[in-house]
């Protein structure tokens, strides 16, 4: 089992000191090569769940196990290494570094891990030219790319370290429907052709159907877990 979430909860405190529960008693497990989508209305806690699994935030209760390793036992450096080597992130707003070119953005996780810049860029070019089909746009900066192209670059960046798990937070939220379809098809092919495990948050039923499994949240609780209709 790749990912196991046990009794996970997250509570925030408001400025007046009043606790607000965002997630409560979440239990789920994900195997390799699954494409799981998390759905739910605004405020249901789906993004918070993704952030906790992505070790961007710490849970109030429960634990998250990735390949058997408990994320809550990791110190700051451990969490950094986890994100660097075991996870790939794809965000709704792309979150590319504006001052770097597309291929430099893709190469970044490898460079951060100590790979030489030349080798990292070589790998980035291969990824851009191969899986995501942006071979001609490697030298362009994010500002010179369309929304769909930006998201393809972000996906290539998520893939470059060959992570166990790809986390995608509303990856089509900022795209038109045609481009959204292309991006979702790309994610789907990553699972089917490369055996990648993908966990995607979305509020779009159409997007959710690209996955192999749908988990539904409401008011911070898991209300359904099953295959798409």
């Amino acid at each position: 089992m790749l990912l196991k979430v046990e009794s996970l909860s997250k509570t925030y405190e408001t400025s007046s000191g009043k606790p607000v529960s965002v997630l409560s008693d979440i239990n789920l497990s994900i195997d390799g090569a699954e494409f799981v989508t998390i759905m739910g209305p605004s405020g249901s806690g789906k993004s918070t769940l993704l952030q906790l699994i992505g070790s961007l935030d710490r849970p109030t209760g429960g634990r998250i196990l990735v390949n058997g390793a408990d994320l809550s036992s990791l110190d700051e450096m451990g969490r950094t290494l986890f994100r660097r080597r075991k996870l790939g992130f794809v965000f709704q707003a792309f979150h590319l570094i504006p001052l770097l070119t597309a291929e430099e953005n893709v190469a970044l996780p490898l460079v951060l891990d100590g790979t030489s810049r030349g080798k990292a860029l070589e790998r980035a070019r291969a990824l851009l030219g191969g899986v995501v089909g942006l071979g001609q746009r490697g030298k362009h900066r994010p500002g010179q790319l369309s929304g769909g192209e930006k998201q393809r670059v972000a996906i290539a960046r998520a893939l470059i370290a060959n992570p166990d798990l790809i986390l995608a937070d509303e990856p089509t939220g900022a795209l038109d429907s045609a481009t959204s379809g292309e991006i979702l098809a790309l994610l789907k092919s990553l699972r089917s052709e490369q055996g990648r495990t993908i966990l995607m948050v979305t509020h779009d039923e159409t997007a959710a159907r690209y996955g192999t499994r749908i988990i539904r949240l409401r008011d911070g609780r898991m209300v359904a877990d099953g295959k798409p209709a």
Binding site: S15, Q51, G54, L56, D57, N67, G68, A69, L74, E76, M77, G78, T80, L81, F82, R83, R84, R85, K86, F89, F91, A93, H95, L96, I97, P98, L99, L100, L108, P109, V111, L112, D113, G114, R117, R157, A161
Partner: protein
């Protein structure tokens, strides 16, 4: 279970290229920051460069003059020594021969009206040139000096001497190198007996160069000659003379270097501010980096790397700029240092060794990296979620003090106040940067103002003679051509002259430090002895005691008292040409002629002990009913050319001295512009980021109907509010430091006592400068804000 990816240990890789990319992409900000650092650092380097070049130049001049001499004998207690000492010195075991010389400064003019800035040197030349030796009016000039000024062998020049102008004929040119290198070639050489006669040094010698027999150690010979001559003479190796020279203006150097170091410090503050702003601006980017696996250490090294590069580039710019500044300021600084050291310092060639240039670059870069530590640490603490979700971490509109704006009737002003108070971090950075620069301005303004005011006040209650006469030349009266006391007698006999009084300033040494010995003719009790600025007892009483006591009495300056702890009633021993003499201290006076201190005595006693007939100036009292201007005109027409003197009214003299003082502090005053320039750049960066952070908010304001003019007014008002806060903070800090500097630093390090003078000018200047700097800094960001595309700005919401 522990995973491989957690246990694998390899050093954290550096991601410097990302930081460097940030600097190259944000080129404007990088350039402006580098300019700011360059300005601050170049001031520091300029001061260091000038100071060490001056020292090096002085060393070279000394070496050129002493040639291969191993020891140099100079009088400690006067400007001369008796000629008969020479034969005694030559009999000391180990001395091969002793070469005497006399040195003085004289202005030289020639037909086309040019003049030698450094004056001429008169000293012995050895050789077989009978033509040169057979006349008292023959001189040799350095070939380079002659070439510079279009002079050739056979030309005649006029030298001002204590007894008047004298024609001298150029009989030869000194080849390049050797003695001709001294004082940048601005020297003349003449036969020693001719020099003694021409410059009133009858039977005197001002320096003896000693050459040792083979096998004699300089230390041994030094000890023997010192024992023979006693405490009244200094026997030094040439290198020691340079050290002593350096000691004489070390305090002044320390003050200037301290102020220049503040410039460097402000430059580092700019780095801290720029990096702080950059980190704030790049919160999102840093969050992404952290999210995709950048460790805190990598973020830290990246940001510190940026700071380091900024420092290095700024240092590089400063290296180039400092040479330009040094050339521009050299004359002023040399004049200021000459005034401090009581001797003419030749204008040096600027020189910076490669190693020192490297050290300087390392200093600016390392300092900048250290300045970047706090913002870099902040960068490692950036909230991942806040960055990724594009929250504005500073948008704490609920800050309790935001309600401060409530009573303000204008909505625009209310919004401006709220913007200032709801971003305490940004506001404190902006205000802090400007306040640092303003504090610096206030310190300089108050300290130089106090200096000028104290000097002016001293004139107000001490100057008595209506006219003063000095030798021609530039600089302080005691650095000009001396006059002979016989001139005073001549003046006393002129119609309209009620009295003529000589003044002599002689640099002497006391307990190893150079001090001024000032002797004055008695101006009579009817003047109330105003010329003696006695501070611890009635002047009249002190004057009577100074001029009528049967024993040798002196007044000591406040600086002397502070350094040597001698006050009224104490005794002190002074080295005089004929041995040590005991002086009784009868009062404390104020004097700024030497930072180490000054002694005042009567010229009758001075003449008796030092046997020196020379004067540095003569004061003239005008007879009642006889116009001062008329007498001045008469004296000018009679003596200006024949004796090569200037005749000044008390007002003109005062202006001249104050001009010299102003020249000395213009160097210090120039530093404040650099501080303000750095602040301007820092504020511009800060305002720019502030506007960028509020892009959507500003777009919204425009969307709901705020006009460009209203927006501009709001932003300018915000800038002025911050400026007002900086003025209060900067003035408070600056006044505190200035007070400490005047009451502690100057008193303990320089010995001078200045009274804190605080006028409306310092706060007015600070407020005006703060307003101007703030408006200049906010102009472009505000223009950018009013020209924003509303739809694009709102799209980012």
């Amino acid at each position: 279970m522990v995973e491989w990816w957690l246990t694998e240990s390899r050093p954290e890789p550096m991601i410097q290229w990302l930081g460097v990319r940030n600097l190259t992409v944000r080129l404007w900000r990088t350039t402006s920051t580098v300019l700011g650092i360059g300005a601050g650092a170049s001031l520091f380097l300029t001061v260091v460069l000038i100071n060490q070049s001056v020292l090096q130049s002085y060393r070279e001049s000394l070496e050129a003059l002493t040639g291969r001499a191993e020891l140099v004998v100079t009088p400690d207690a006067s400007s001369w020594m008796p000629e008969e000492l020479l034969s005694k010195i030559e009999q000391v075991p180990g001395i091969a021969h002793a070469t005497p010389s006399v040195q003085t400064m004289a202005k030289i003019t020639w037909a086309d009206g040019n003049f030698a800035r450094n004056g001429a040197k008169a000293s012995l030349i050895t050789g077989d040139s009978l033509e040169f030796l057979n006349s008292t009016s023959h001189i040799l000039l350095a070939r380079s000096f002659a070439a510079r000024n279009g002079l050739k062998v056979g030309d005649t020049v006029t030298a001002s001497t204590p007894t008047g102008a004298k024609s001298l004929t150029i009989r030869g040119l000194l080849p390049e190198g050797g003695m001709a290198k001294a004082f940048g070639g601005a020297l003349a050489v003449m036969d020693i007996d001719a020099a003694r006669k021409t410059f009133a040094f009858d039977g005197q010698t001002s320096r003896v160069d000693l050459f040792l027999k083979a096998g004699t150690s300089p230390r041994q010979a030094q000890a023997r000659v010192s024992t023979l001559l006693g405490a009244s003479f200094r026997v030094e190796e040439p290198a020691e003379r340079v050290d002593n020279f350096q000691n004489s203006f070390r305090s002044f150097q320390a003050l200037i270097e301290f102020l220049a170091a503040v410039g460097l410090f402000v430059a580092w503050v700019l780095v801290a501010g720029t990096i702080h702003v950059s980190v704030t601006e790049r919160q999102g980017e840093l969050g992404i980096l952290r999210a995709i696996g950048a460790s805190p250490m990598q973020i830290l090294t990246m940001i510190l790397g940026e700071s380091f590069w900024l420092g290095l580039l700024g240092g590089g710019l400063a290296l180039a700029a400092s040479f330009v500044f040094s050339h521009a300021m050299l004359g002023t600084v040399v004049a200021a240092l000459s005034a401090q050291a009581l001797l003419k310092i030749p204008e040096p060639q600027l020189h910076l060794p490669l190693v020192q240039a490297f050290e300087f670059l390392l200093l600016t870069a390392t300092g900048a990296a250290i300045a970047g530590l706090f913002p870099a640490w902040r960068a490692t603490r950036v909230s991942l979620l806040a960055s990724i979700e594009r929250e504005q971490p500073h948008a704490a509109a609920e800050a309790p003090w935001a309600t401060l704006a409530a009573p303000v009737p204008s909505l625009i002003a209310q919004m401006a106040i709220q913007n200032v108070v709801r971003r305490p971090s940004r506001t404190s950075t902006t205000v802090g940067l400007l306040a640092t620069a303003l504090a610096f301005v206030a310190v300089i303004e108050v300290m130089t103002g106090s200096f000028e005011k104290t000097l002016s006040a001293r004139f107000d209650h001490t100057l008595t003679p209506e006219l003063v006469i000095f030798g021609q030349g530039k600089g302080r009266p005691d650095q000009r051509q001396t006059l002979h006391e016989g001139f005073v007698d001549e003046l006393r006999g002129l119609p309209g002259v009620r009295g003529a009084y000589g003044r002599r300033l002689l640099p002497i040494r006391y307990e190893g430090r150079e001090i001024s010995l000032i002797s004055l003719d008695d101006m009579g009790v009817e003047t109330g002895y105003r010329v003696l600025d006695v501070v611890d007892r009635p002047r009249e009483q002190a004057g009577i005691e100074l001029y009528s006591s049967p024993d040798f009495t002196v007044l000591v300056s406040e600086s002397f008292r502070n350094h040597f702890h001698k006050s009224t009633g104490d005794f002190l021993w002074l080295a005089a040409p004929m041995g040590n003499v005991r002086a009784r201290v009868i009062g404390i006076t104020t004097d700024f002629s030497s930072p180490n201190g000054a002694l005042y005595t009567s010229r009758a006693w001075y003449r008796k002990i030092w046997k020196d007939p020379l004067l540095n100036g003569i004061g003239i009292m005008v007879q009642e009913g006889h116009g001062t201007t008329a007498l001045q005109t008469t004296l000018r027409s009679r003596y200006a050319l024949s004796r090569n003197v200037v005749v000044l009214s008390d007002r003109e003299y005062r202006n001249e001295v104050q001009g010299i003082a102003a020249q000395a502090i213009v160097y210090v005053k120039s530093l404040r512009w650099a501080a303000l320039f750095i602040a301007l750049i820092a504020l511009f960066n800060s305002f720019m980021v502030d506007i960028r952070e509020r892009w959507q908010e500003l777009g919204l304001l425009r969307a709901v109907g705020m006009s460009p003019l209203q927006m501009m007014a709001m932003l300018v008002f915000e800038a002025l509010l911050k400026a007002a806060m900086a003025v209060i903070l900067g003035l408070g800090l600056g006044l505190g430091v200035a007070w400490f500097g005047l009451t502690n630093f100057l008193t303990t390090r320089l010995g001078w006592v200045f009274h804190l003078h605080f006028s409306w000018q310092a706060p007015a200047l600070c407020a005006a400068l703060a307003g101007i700097v703030s408006i200049l800094a906010v102009a472009i960001p505000a223009f950018k804000a009013v020209s924003l595309e509303v739809s694009l700005a709102l799209a980012e919401l």
